[in-house]
């Protein structure tokens, strides 16, 4: 992971709608990414399933997984120290805390994408419960299968994963599929779409 890989998504998280940040913010992003490296403890756990578990035999998962050979359930996290650092920074420098938070989100996506390279080119993106009208509470099924507690992720009753920089989802293997706005949890309220833009289109490498 380097600056250029994640820069655009960091801008996106900070609300720069496709516009490059000023030199000072860029410098701070660089600093934050440097500090982030010292506190990230990236872990990834997954399980390959040949038979579709029951919770996935409903929409929108059926459409998403149609034509896949098998699926992978996955969960990943940057670890608890990243959360702690964001908290600490919020007390000494709110602006930096905000930038650090955005850097961490971008780093998690980037590291997970890199890791998933091992599943081959013929794969879908990571579909996380909550996307495209799916129920965020479906996370509990992924947790039953994967037990991501062993890499330090826990799930609260309200469907929240902790540490905050964690993700869990489903990847279909055997077909290619990229993210679209329709699946997005924020589809109806997206500030980018309102401006006729897409948050991810500028992020592609």
């Amino acid at each position: 992971m380097n600056f250029s890989d994640v820069k655009l998504s960091i801008y996106t998280y900070l609300g720069y709608k496709g516009i490059a940040a000023d030199a000072q913010t860029d410098e701070e992003i660089g600093q934050c990414l440097g500090e982030l490296e010292g506190v990230i403890r990236f872990s990834y756990t997954f399980k390959q399933l040949d038979v579709l578990p029951e919770f996935l035999s409903k929409q929108p998962y059926c459409d998403f997984l149609k034509g896949c050979k098998y699926i992978v359930l996955c969960a990943t996290t940057l670890g608890v120290e990243v959360d702690r650092r964001i908290k600490y920074l919020s007390k000494i420098d709110m602006r930096k805390s905000l930038i650090f938070d955005a850097c961490a989100s971008a780093a998690l996506e980037c590291l997970a994408d890199e890791y998933e390279g091992k599943f081959g080119e013929e794969r879908t993106y990571r579909f996380c419960p909550g996307y495209g009208g799916s129920d965020i509470k479906d996370l509990q099924y992924i947790f039953t299968f994967l037990r991501p507690e062993k890499i330090g992720i826990s799930l609260t009753d309200s469907g929240l994963m902790l540490p905050q920089k964690s993700m869990a989802g489903i990847i279909g293997i055997g077909k290619k599929m990229q993210k679209t706005c329709a699946e997005c949890i924020n589809f109806s309220a997206c500030a980018y779409l309102k401006d006729g833009k897409k948050c991810y289109s500028s992020v592609k490498k």
Partner: protein, 776 residues
């Protein structure tokens, strides 16, 4: 009876792996009831072990979701384990939920879950094996629950990852110091790693604590093969590592994930052999969950969280303004303190409760070890109990009654204790008399089972203005006390009380004291001259080898006269008026420029014509997409800093536009949005009562009743927590709240806000302020 630490004890092997082979892994605890014979036969397969662990890893009321009662499963599991005819330890696993402050489970809730297990099982088992914990705080809750609800041996084993730390960031040294302090019978490492990968962790555990060490590795690292997990290490390889660990001093060995009866049969040959002797040098160590401080050389204890002579801090403690306390703590950490004193002794408060809250809030942000400072025994215990690590207790003295109150607490939690060389007669005049008291304190501590290295001595500073001749007695007493092999402390700044230019006297006295063996000045770390003297002393005493730390700090040092030029050189960070400072978000200069501005203009003119005007301009740029969130927040922070200067000179009552309560609702811990709203509100002159995250409706209702604020702002990020927001609003309304309720967060919009009974949905912090201004 098994003798821990003298003869090698062999534990059994993996249960989960065997259950998976039998197809019983989906509900492992229920298998005790539904497939008792299968479970018994697994236990029998492990009968070569000295101790059999029950099949109860996930059996606690937070984690267990099976169909039976916890009591019946627990008792049946013990009965099953007895089938092997060996000693039975009850296996206790973590709750699977994350503890506060990162998670939502409280220490007391975790404690209650483990206490229930102890209550059910204590008469039927030979001991407890708490294993695979990755959070030291949860392990502390567990060990305390087992100790307080049962009287059986406790083995405590944590899991470490390849980085050599637990998932929550604790090193082996921190784990060992904390668990040894809590008085476990054995401590160690299991799961996650294979025997080879565990080497560094085991070595460190063996090197730093005399407590018997448990080594229970997985069968190597798993290999993913066709989506399945496989372990490939052979019995012989596993055995050779275990043999090596036994040679190094491990006392209790067994197998975790992937092992089977063959592995345990093989290593059972070590059972009953003598445990190798280890020589451990005792050290005076305190620690938080992620930071260990050995009291050696000179370590700075920050004194600013002590209300003596501090009016604002006193007010904050009385008002329950923990934000203020946390800010003080963070500032001291930033300034280089090694540990922080926490004293909340203000009359007419519930000191134990306030101590608990303060410790919890401070350790949420600051990772320094704490010194729990109180004369109230219950407040000391509250602080020590809820601190995530091993704290220092301040203090005991030579009075028997004081030692009788405090030493049992120190012993129970493994805390280090600071002893003051005074007694019922007061502070003795001479160094020799103080030395005698120190000896008495150490002797009494040892009678309570507190070793010498857990005692520090404060030889007490008197003021030079009143008792000039006694200053040298304090210093001489330090020298004497050091001969007892204990570390020393002094509250150095007392020396200058009543004299002019106190800083000069403090610094000079500090240097005298350090020369005579002072290890821990209790002082203001924000005083650069004082911390500078400590850094300089470390060079001159040889502690800072090759002056590395000193050079690192002072390499860019510019003498005072040139500092202005040095700051402005080549940087575009210098501004010459408050308006530009806020507009460009340069927080570091906001206070000074505001003070300048206040010399020229009336406070309200500064607020309205400078601060608010600058913020308005920033707001317009933000709305039109010419300026972005980081800049908006930076401007708000600068304005907030300036506001703090304005309020210092405004009469009380005029210093705020009104109070706003903010909270992230129950079930949600996302607080970055709420924090942005907070700083933007503060920058506009509102006082914010920040209730934090995961806040129950009842707490918000209580705060409403207490403050009767201008507005209440609620935040939720997830669809699942909007219902919690609705519940909060309902409870507020039932309590008669007619205050405007604002809601915000990614999944909300105007429509949902209306549905759940809120008055306003605001899309961002600026809009919140704009709407609020219309209400004032």
């Amino acid at each position: 009876m098994l003798q821990f630490g003298e003869k090698i004890i062999v534990l059994d092997g993996a249960m989960g792996t065997r259950l998976e082979e039998l197809g019983l892994a989906e509900r492992p605890e229920d298998a005790n009831m539904t497939d008792a014979e299968a479970i018994k036969s697994i236990h029998r397969e492990y009968s070569a072990a000295d101790i059999i662990l029950t099949n109860t890893f996930g059996l606690n009321k937070i984690k267990y979701k099976g169909k039976f009662g916890i009591r019946e499963v627990a008792l049946k599991a013990i009965e099953n384990a007895r089938a092997a005819g060996k000693a039975v330890f009850f296996d206790v696993g973590p709750t699977g939920a994350m503890l506060k402050p990162i998670g939502t489970l409280s220490f007391d809730e975790a404690y209650a879950a483990f206490a229930e297990i102890a209550d059910i099982t204590r008469d039927f088992v030979d001991g407890y094996f708490a294993e695979t914990f990755s959070d030291l705080y949860e392990m502390k809750a567990c060990v305390l629950a087992l100790k307080e609800h049962a009287d059986k041996p406790i083995f405590a084993s944590m899991t470490f990852d390849a980085s050599g730390r637990t998932l929550t960031g604790s090193t082996p040294e921190i784990v060992a110091n904390t668990l040894a302090g809590l008085g476990v019978d054995a401590l160690g490492v299991n799961c996650s790693l294979g025997p080879k990968e565990m080497y560094n962790v085991v070595k460190k555990l063996l090197d730093c604590s005399p407590v018997p060490v448990i080594v229970e590795p997985n069968r190597g690292l798993p290999v993913f093969n066709g989506g399945k997990t496989e372990y490939t290490l052979t019995v012989e390889e596993f055995d050779s590592y275990i043999g090596k660990y036994i040679d190094m001093g491990a006392a209790i060995v067994g197998g975790c994930c992937g092992t089977n009866p063959q592995f345990i049969n093989k290593i059972s040959k070590y059972s009953g052999r003598s445990v190798a002797k280890r020589n451990i040098e005792p050290k005076t160590i305190i620690n938080s969950s992620t930071r260990l401080v050995e009291i050696d050389g000179v370590k700075i204890c920050g004194e600013r969280l002590n209300p003596t002579g501090k009016k604002k801090l006193k007010e904050a403690i009385v008002a329950g303004d923990f934000d203020y306390l946390v800010d003080e703590a963070v500032k001291q950490q930033e300034a280089g303190a090694d540990l922080l004193d926490v004293n909340v002794g203000v009359p007419k408060i519930d000191e134990p409760a306030v101590m608990k809250n303060t410790v919890e809030r401070v350790q949420e942000y600051v990772d320094l070890p704490l010194q729990i400072d109180s004369s109230n025994k219950d407040a000391i215990e509250a602080g020590v109990r809820y601190f995530n690590g091993v704290p220092l207790i301040n203090s005991v003295n030579g009075e028997e009654s004081v030692m009788a109150r405090v030493f049992p607490i120190a012993k129970k939690y493994g805390a280090v204790v600071l002893g003051l060389t005074m007694d019922e007669r007061g502070v003795p005049k001479t160094a020799v008399e103080r030395f005698e008291i120190a000896k008495r304190i150490i002797k009494r501590a040892e009678e309570y089972g507190i070793p010498r290295h857990k005692i520090m001595i404060d030889t007490l500073v008197l003021t030079a203005s009143a008792e000039q001749s006694l200053v040298k007695e304090t210093v001489e007493a330090l020298r004497l006390v050091k001969t007892l092999g204990v570390k020393t402390a002094l509250g150095v700044s007392n020396v200058s009380f009543g004299l002019p230019n106190r800083g000069l006297l403090n610094k000079t006295f500090l240097t005298m004291a350090m020369t005579c063996g002072l290890n821990m000045p209790i002082m203001n770390p924000l005083d650069g001259e004082m911390t500078g003297a400590v850094k300089a002393f470390a060079v001159l005493s040889g502690e800072d080898e090759n002056s590395e730390k000193y050079i690192d700090i002072y390499k860019d040092f510019t003498p005072m006269a040139n500092s202005v030029a040095a700051v402005s050189k080549g940087e575009d960070k210098s501004v010459n008026n408050l308006f530009d400072c806020v507009k460009r978000g340069i927080k570091s200069q906001a206070a000074a420029l505001c003070i300048e501005e206040l010399k020229k203009s009336d406070p309200m003119i500064v607020v309205n014509d400078v601060l608010i005007k600058a913020l308005d301009e920033v707001g317009k740029l933000y709305d039109s997409g010419k300026l972005f969130l980081p800049q908006l927040v930076a401007s708000a922070e600068a304005a907030k800093t300036a506001f703090a200067e304005v309020t210092k000179i405004l009469p009380q009552g005029e210093s705020t536009k009104g109070e706003v309560i903010l909270a992230t609702v129950k079930g949600d811990v996302h607080d970055i949005g709420k924090n942005i709203v907070k700083v933007v509100l503060q920058s506009h002159g509102y006082s914010v009562i920040d209730l934090g995250k995961d806040v129950p409706p009842e707490t918000i209702v209580q705060a409403y009743k207490k403050y009767k604020p201008l507005a209440i702002g609620l935040s939720a990020l997830m669809t699942t927590t909007v219902s919690s927001m609705e519940e909060t609003i309902n409870k507020l309304r039932s309590a008669g709240c007619e205050t405007s309720i604002f809601v915000g967060g990614a999944v909300l919009n105007g429509e949902i806000a209306k549905q759940i009974g809120a008055d306003y949905y605001t899309k961002d912090a600026l809009e919140f302020v704009k709407v609020l201004e219309t209400l004032v």
